[in-house]
């Protein structure tokens, strides 16, 4: 149990997928303007990342490994994740329309998100068991959400703050992201 807890803290904070691993930077800067969209995006990532990791782990262990096709991992994972997101979208539209409307456009957006793909690959590289994979993916996506929401909160305040005109906009956002990443460095060494 302790192992899982450590894995969770490690994935969510110490090795935060955005701020330490530098994955998923595009939506991190792109959808961090308003809190409601940021939360929608985070929920969609939690949903898809966990599900995708579970499926890709099985694809790796029961399809690619037996045939010695490890080198096809990338292409196979892309195929699987894209199909999965499509399926999930259809399922939600039919069965949980409320959730479908809430996640809305974010679902197809993260089909090709590198954070989702990256976590799926990391699961294999780190040789996690299936349960570990689930915990790692869930924790990573939570870490992603935390980083995104923190960033959005800061940027919303930054919008009303006096910023040097030459730094206004993207430069200020990048500096903010940098400082946020430095803050997360504080977690370094807590867990491997």
């Amino acid at each position: 149990m302790t192992d899982f807890l450590l894995l969770f803290v490690s994935a969510a904070f110490v090795n935060n997928v955005v701020l330490v691993r530098y994955l998923g930077q595009c939506p991190f800067l792109g959808v961090s303007n308003r809190l409601d969209t940021a939360i929608g995006m985070s929920m969609a990532v939690v949903f898809v990342m966990t599900l995708a990791s579970a499926v890709t782990w099985n694809v790796q262990h029961y399809l690619l490994n037996p045939f010695g096709l490890g080198y096809l991992r990338t292409i196979a994972f892309i195929l699987v994740i894209a199909t999965l997101v499509q399926l999930v979208e259809m399922f939600l539209q039919k069965s949980v329309p409320a959730l479908y409307r809430a996640l809305g456009i974010f679902l197809p957006l993260i089909t090709t998100n590198c954070a989702v793909m990256g976590v799926a690959v990391l699961n294999i590289q780190n040789e996690y068991t299936f349960v570990e994979t689930l915990v790692f993916a869930f924790a990573s996506s939570i870490g992603y959400g935390v980083a995104l929401v923190l960033m959005t909160g800061i940027r919303e305040r930054l919008n009303t703050a006096p910023v040097l005109s030459s730094l206004a906009g993207t430069p200020a956002a990048l500096i903010t992201a940098c400082m946020l990443a430095l803050a997360f460095m504080g977690f370094a060494g807590m867990v491997q």
């Binding site: 045939f67 196979a76 195929l79 199909t83 499509q86 399926l87 259809m90 069965s95 030459s166």
Partner: protein, 688 residues
């Protein structure tokens, strides 16, 4: 190898089959009409309609939240098809087109630095707003060109976007992606409503023009030999070019940048040249009008301002009728100018042009005699615009000492005093407000006190210590029961039928802004100004004024004050310091005022704020400019040809100044520096 193929192929097959199955299992019913409408739409997903893509638009159209012609990218054929699919009618929509608003590319403009980063305007603008010194200059990296879903944009040789008018659908994608807001959509209405703002490029002459004519553009068209196009540019904001071309006081020429080098460009004689060319050809340049709004507006006063108001009302899609008290249109233009300045034939040509644009003229109809504001409002007009000018302009129409009461409850102070002294007039009301006017105002106030009026108010624009009376006189007046209001302006009149019932007063702060407002019960307003202000009367809807509950019920009206033009300094209320609002010093001022009155009414009737644009350039706005020029070639101004002495002897009423010849006009037009905000045409090679 085979294993790999089979594995990935199999995986793909399973995924595909799974999705196909899922689409069956999780099938959601979609209205087939949505699919049909989406099929009919162009599928460019440009977002010009304001919905996320064509499917979003189709859903909105079918659900009835959007009109069938919401798609800006497709033509009327597609709109008709969609309307037929749904079995509904379509309303006519005004066509729009994209127009780039920058005329000097990166090669010719002054730069702050050389940009070598990612070739996209949205990236370039992050670096201190772009590389140009000019804050509203095109960055020239073609973001708009790449964004255009219809291939209507291309990059010209000077790195400025060029619009293909045939391909542009007016979807507005370029307007949305341009980080500098340089390429914008324009339509007939938008060009009528346009005011120069700090967010766009404008030349000093344009900003100085009370009518707001795009001067560099029309002169450019003349230099290229496109005389009719030049006249079209002028007519966008000035319906009386032949008249203006003769008698305009041309404030533009005083601001011309060529004054820094030699002499101003002959802006006004060039206007006369293109206008006279049109008159000689007999073929009118006419600008189209916006779709019919179904609303009718009456304009009272057939002078320059009334004609202009009628013209722009028509352009905006209103049914405009101009009432004139005398037997012929023209007002002071007809009665106040000598033949050798403005020949009758020229006047007729411009007045006929307004009529041909669709304005209905009714001469011999005098306000106060043949109709009243109230009767017009109840004849089915949605609004009445008063453009009757002043005491002097009405002189040809009346005998002195007759009191004119053309607008409800408002009298010219001088009219009242003359009539009262002559014994022709009793005091008109019991609650009187007197505005401005010095000792005459005090006399009128005392007359009212003597005649036992219930309330007498005197209103002063300035503070107490700047009133035109000594402290003793003021105290004496207060003791007599006259109520004095200092630093106050009249901002609205309200009434019912032919009677004035209320005035809205605003106190003016130190910077000329209005702060508190109060409503005063009044039946008479005496104005020391010799002019009636331009006013817009509309029937009160009640919902629009939160501060006063309309207990007047049916038939109550109120006035709107047109927003002030760019040269006005103290802009609160419809009586400005020493004068009624609206400017009659020159015909071009009246033209500008007429257009602004129409714009104000249009904004009101379409439910918008009736202020001018927020960033509109006004008298005290600071605009980037130049105080000296780098070398430009000097060239003397073309002299305006004059009539010979013999000719003037034969016909003393012949025009003294004549029109440029074509050669002269083109030569003069080429002297224009084609200024922008800070750019201008320099000598080749003299730059850098």
């Amino acid at each position: 190898m085979l294993e790999a193929l089979l594995t990935i192929g199999g995986l793909g097959l399973v995924a595909g089959a799974g999705l196909a199955l899922a689409s069956r299992v999780f099938y959601v019913y979609v209205d087939p009409r949505i699919l049909a409408v989406e099929e009919a739409l162009p599928g460019a997903n440009c977002g010009g309609c304001g919905y996320p893509g064509c499917s979003g638009a189709a859903t909105a159209i079918v659900s009835g939240t959007a009109e069938p012609n919401i798609c800006v990218a497709s033509g009327s054929a597609v709109h008709a098809e969609i309307a037929a699919l749904l079995g509904v009618e379509i309303k006519e929509r005004e066509p729009e087109i994209a127009v780039p608003g920058c005329t000097y590319g990166l090669e010719q403009a002054d730069l702050k630095y050389l940009y070598d980063g990612f070739q996209d305007c949205r990236a370039a603008v992050l670096l201190g707003g772009g590389s140009k010194v000019c804050p509203v200059g095109c960055l020239g990296l073609g973001t708009c060109v790449r964004s255009c879903p219809f291939g209507a944009l291309s990059m010209g040789p000077d790195n400025l976007p060029v619009v293909d008018k045939d391909l542009c659908t007016g979807c507005g994608t370029c307007e949305r992606v341009c980080p500098k807001h340089i390429i914008t959509l324009t339509s007939n209405s938008k060009r009528v409503l346009r005011e120069y703002t700090t967010d766009q490029c404008s030349a000093p002459c344009q900003r100085a023009c009370p009518a707001g004519i795009d001067i560099p553009e029309y002169i450019h068209q003349i230099s290229e030999g496109n005389y009719r196009e030049a006249l079209r540019v002028i007519k966008e904001t000035n319906p009386l070019p032949s008249i203006c071309g003769r008698i305009c006081v041309h404030p533009c020429e005083y601001e011309c940048r060529r004054n820094l080098v030699d002499q101003a460009v002959a802006i006004n004689p060039l206007k006369r040249f293109v206008a006279d060319r049109e008159r000689m050809s007999g073929e009118r340049v006419q600008i189209g009008r916006a779709p019919d709004t179904g609303k009718r507006v009456a304009v009272v006063g057939g002078g320059a301002e009334g004609l202009t108001a009628g013209y722009f009302l028509t352009r905006l899609g209103y049914e405009a009728t101009v009432y004139e008290g005398s037997s012929r249109m023209g007002g002071l233009l007809r009665y106040g100018l000598p033949q050798n300045r403005l020949p009758a034939g020229v006047l007729e040509w411009d007045i006929n042009g307004v009529q041909e644009a669709g304005v209905v003229f009714k001469t011999g109809h005098r306000l106060g005699r043949d109709m009243t504001v109230n009767s017009l409002l109840h004849e089915g007009y949605d609004a009445v615009i008063i453009a009757i000018g002043g005491w002097d302009t009405q002189m040809p129409q009346r005998a002195q000492g007759d009191i004119l009461k053309p607008i409800p409850g408002v009298y010219i102070l001088l009219d009242f005093l003359l009539a009262y002294r002559a014994g022709k007039q009793r005091v008109p009301g019991r609650r009187v407000v007197i505005l401005g006017g010095g000792s005459a105002a005090l006399e009128a106030a005392r007359i009212h006190i003597r005649e036992e009026a219930l309330e007498v108010h005197m209103i002063f624009r300035g503070p107490r210590n700047q009133a035109p009376f000594s402290d003793e006189v003021l105290e004496d007046a207060e003791e007599q029961g006259i109520q004095l209001h200092f630093e106050t302006a009249v901002t609205r009149m309200m009434g019912r039928g032919d009677e004035l019932t209320h005035l809205e007063l605003a106190s003016i702060g130190p910077s000329g802004d209005s702060s508190g407002r109060e409503i005063l019960e009044t039946d008479t307003l005496l104005t020391g100004s010799g002019r009636f202000p331009e006013l817009i009367y509309v029937l009160e809807t009640g919902s629009r004024n939160g501060e006063i509950e309309s207990d007047e019920g049916e038939g109550a009206w109120e006035t709107l004050v047109p927003y002030a033009g760019p040269s006005a300094r103290d802009v609160t209320g419809f009586f400005r310091p020493g004068e009624a609002a609206g400017d009659y010093r020159a015909v071009v001022e009246a033209i500008g005022s007429g257009r602004r009155a129409v714009n104000t009414l249009h904004l009101y009737l379409s439910g918008n704020s009736i202020e001018g644009p927020v960033s509109m350039i006004r008298a005290n706005t600071r605009v980037l400019g130049l105080s000296e020029l780098e070398p430009v070639s000097t060239a003397p101004r073309e002299p305006v040809p004059l009539s010979s002495e013999e000719m003037l002897n034969v016909d003393p009423s012949a025009e003294v100044e004549l029109t440029y010849s074509e050669d002269q006009a083109v030569r003069e037009a080429r002297r224009c520096l084609q200024c922008g905000l800070i750019c201008y045409r320099r000598i080749e090679g003299a730059l850098h």
